[in-house]
């Protein structure tokens, strides 16, 4: 009760963490720049080289990490609130896979290059259709098992579509480009990518921060939540659309970056008393911090080629998911959901 003051403290601490990681992200790269040069470059002072490196290479990368990580954390927390399950995540239920399918189709059909506005639109349409399909297949009051099976089916379908697009790629270079793009990376992105993703993310985020009170009411189940004055059909529609727009836009400019949506809310949930409404904003900040940290890590890990950030989040996120299932195994197998 009365957790608001503590939430503000938590949000403040997480925001400071994001700012610090953002600054580190601007300072890290193959060319070493001292902090003063980074600051100078950022605000247009200093040498031309420093300005280009900081403003045109590192700044878009850091901005995208905040935007995409934040969207994934927000989308994960919202889906978990809607479905009343901490294992729900956008990447478990096929939205990113479907967004990738939409984007890859546009690329391989030669309808657009990777910078066109058609790409995010196709990616977002793919994500939207996948979440709608998920709810349609699983039904509104589905058990966790049905939901996971339906998500697997939707994911597989999108994966099959992506495989077909790769298969039909006009030439090997296009296929390789698609394959690398699918791994998920923030490397070599420009401010144009930021601007392409931004409007969709603003809409998605706007929709997702709307229903925090409904998520709290849903703690009591759908009947009780409806009796408390929430129109759940609209809540469902807003969350589905918001997740598709926010996650789809991220996939459209950076490929699939997995598990942030699952892990970010989980890390902050105990700090807000497990409240599914209060967790939403901290989860967004924690997602932004996680992706910034991962994107800094891939630049610091010594490797022949830079490890794609989507590969790193999956390598860390998948074992984390296994651990979550292990710790919740009793309630997952025992109690009816």
């Amino acid at each position: 009760m009365g957790g608001r003051g503590r939430d503000e403290l938590l949000i403040g601490v997480l925001a400071v963490l994001v700012v610090v990681l953002f600054a580190v992200s601007l300072a890290v790269g193959p060319v070493f720049l001292p902090p003063a040069t980074v600051v100078g470059g950022l605000f247009g002072g200093g040498s031309e080289a420093a300005r280009i490196i900081v403003q045109e290479i590192r700044l878009p990368r850091a901005l995208l990490a905040v935007m995409i990580g934040g969207s994934l954390g927000l989308a994960g927390a919202s889906l978990q609130g809607l479905l009343r399950n901490p294992l729900a995540a956008p990447d478990l239920f096929g939205a990113p896979a479907a967004a990738a399918f939409g984007a890859v189709t546009v690329i391989s059909l030669g309808l657009a290059d990777a910078l066109s506005f058609a790409l995010p639109v196709a990616a977002i349409a793919g994500a939207l259709i996948s979440v709608a399909l998920l709810i349609l297949v699983a039904g509104p009051r589905s058990s966790l098992l049905v939901l996971i099976l339906a998500g697997l089916a939707v994911s597989s379908l999108a994966g099959a579509g992506t495989a077909l697009a790769l298969n039909l790629a006009p030439n090997p270079f296009a296929a390789l480009e698609i394959a690398f793009w699918l791994l998920g990376s923030l490397e070599d992105r420009s401010m144009r990518h930021v601007l392409i993703a931004l409007p969709f993310m603003v809409v998605g985020v706007g929709l997702l921060v709307w229903d925090r009170r409904a998520f709290r009411a849903l703690t009591l189940g759908e009947e009780a939540a409806a009796s408390l004055g929430f129109d759940l059909r609209w809540v469902r529609l807003r969350v589905v659309t918001g997740v598709a727009a926010a996650v789809g836009a991220g996939v459209a400019v950076a490929g699939s970056i997995g598990f942030i949506g699952l892990v970010a809310p989980h890390l902050v949930r105990p700090l807000v008393g497990h409240d599914p409404g209060r967790v939403v904003l901290p989860a967004a900040l924690s997602g932004a911090a996680l992706l910034l940290a991962a994107d800094i890590a891939v630049r610091l890990i010594p490797a022949q080629a830079e490890i794609k950030v989507g590969v790193l989040t999956a390598l860390i996120g998948a074992p984390f998911f296994i651990w979550m299932i292990l710790t919740r195994r009793r309630e997952l197998t025992g109690a009816p959901s």
Binding site: R4, L220, G229
Partner: protein
Amino acid sequence: MSAPDIVLAADRVSVAYGQTRVVDAASFTVRGGELVAIVGPNGAGKTTLLRALAGLAPSSGSITVDGAPLASLSLGERARRIAYLPQSQVFHWPLAVADIVALGRLPRGAGADLSEADRQAIAVAMADTGITQYAERPVTTLSGGERARVAVARVLATEAPIILADEPTASLDLRYQMAIAGMLLRHARAFGLVVAVLHDLALAARIADRVIVMQGGRIVADGAPNEMLSAERVREVFGVEVAIGEVGGARVVVPLSLSEGP
């Protein structure tokens, strides 16, 4: 004390799922101060009728609160007038008990921040249901009976004049059955009215001002508990032979026939 000034009326209310009419032309009126029990065998449509009264199941016919059609109320207004206690008490997140009870304040605009009125209503509801000592415990660590009391406290904290309760005393031991029943009765007398689906016929006879008997989606009888709960009626509706008597002024219902299987 004058009776609370509120009327809940149902006129030829029907609920159909596909071709099946689950509730068929149910009509009755409940006035302020009354506690009305709905009884009947499994599948008689009791829960569906209650859900329709709460606006949770699409129905035909008319349901009015103080003469205003239920459908004309905004969702928020409806939630401030009618509190609904579902049959099963599920808590999907391990929130602290006080936070669960605070959810009852959502229709009154409470967010993560609570007003003085919110805190007062929550404290009273927790004290009335005897759960104050669990305020900080995660609700998922409580026993079934304790959880049932938390669910009732959540409904009381709403401060809605109308309470629709689906088996509020199921899974409670005798002491808390009587405590919860007494609480609902006090609510009806002082603040509004209560419609409760009850399985325990003796409890219905003990606390209800009126008993509505349902069978096959229809209301087959509606009247004073002593008239409604006769041995003939119970045999007719439930298909069970019972002895009905009085002990210390309270009606008791004792099943006699022990069927050897369907």
